[in-house]
Amino acid sequence: MDHIVVVGASAAGLTAADTLRREGFTGTLTMVGDELRPPYDRPPLSKQVLAGEWEPHKATLRQESDVQRLRLQMVLGHRATEVDPAARAITLDGRERIGYDGLIVATGLRPRHLPFGHDLAGVHVLRTLDDTLTLRAELLGGPRVVVIGAGFLGSEIAATARGLGLDVTLVDVETTPLARQIGSDVGELVARTHRDHGVDVRMRRHVTGMTGQNGRVAAVVLDDGSRLAADVVVVAIGSVPATDWLTDSGIPLGDGVLCDPTCKAAPGVYAAGDVANWPHPLVGGRIRLEQRTNATLQAVTAAKNLLSDPDGALPYAPMPFGWTDQYDTKIQIHGWCPPDAHVEVVDGDVRSRTFVALYRTGGRVVGALGWNSPRALLRYRGHIAQHPGA
């Protein structure tokens, strides 16, 4: 293998490049990214960077010297628009073709939009560092903020905006924030935490429209007829895998790039990170994870498997781990916390806001959630059965 191309210049892409070199790949290594900035990390965006606690450069993933050490040809500000797996070549910006012997797809996600409102000034999504800096600049004007979507991202943005002293409303169709991610038992506690901090939490409400004035957003309209006055709106209603450039390639697509258990999508093509969808051998079904630790661990496996293909490829079967920070609350999750699971607090207690809860489905533990209990939580990781029964 002489030339490996990595598409996507972020957490998963960089880790793949790192791993390829660590595993002794000495050929040409090209990394393509459509953002102009050198690779940076996303978790601090909705937290420290949006809050202004971190200078943007602190989220940079590798220093210039590290990139040089990797002997990485960085092609930034260019989009991969096509791939031809038979000819083993990708196309950049619809023009330039680059051949490859091995390809790693690490293009992540793009934010989902509402069918209305995005043409108005003041309406934002947040995925990139540039999105974050644009939103931050608007928050400095002291606006009234409405956050649509109370998943991890929306809840964090609401907490950060409230931390800046702003008037914040959080809206979602679910019964509680994070209902789909951690169930409504613990989700109710998240709602209470936001209310305690002065956020107007509107659950079980559909957003039906937005009104504007002189091209700028003025209000968010809900299905019960209420109008939430807003100067800034953040739409955080989930994301879709960035697979548009693979549409005509013959590479199997579904909810992401459909890989085999070793993260392989086609001969010489592997995927990793938020964009990768693969059968988890211990789950008994396909999964896709939108978690920072997965971007790293999966990229390590995908890179190793690309080099050892076809004989030595190993299945990728991680125990998922994710976290979210809101106000002074740190929630961490090992495994799965499905909404229909039975939840039991096994360490600490809810009243003191320091606890560990185990999630059971069909009698077995499938996940462990720590609320301000990082150290205690680790002790329960081993309780999680390896068959969440999906």
Partner: protein
């Protein structure tokens, strides 16, 4: 081998503890990493490098 930690970046994920419990622990309150041994014996190098690679915040630096 010499290890340095950027406490400010650490997100308390505990991935380092899972990879090398001889070298890393976490503070009880906030989970921030505690370095048990900043110059561990060479036979732990692979585990420590694994810890550094797994850390989602890239808070661990290893000098060989």
């Amino acid at each position: 081998m010499k290890i340095t930690i950027d406490e400010d970046k650490c997100v308390g994920a505990g991935q380092c503890v899972l990879a090398a419990a001889e070298v890393f622990d976490q503070r009880d309150e906030d989970g921030v990493v505690v370095l048990l041994d900043s110059a561990p014996p060479q036979e732990l190098l692979a585990d420590v490098e694994d810890a550094a690679a797994r850390c989602p915040a890239l808070a661990i630096e290893v000098e060989k």
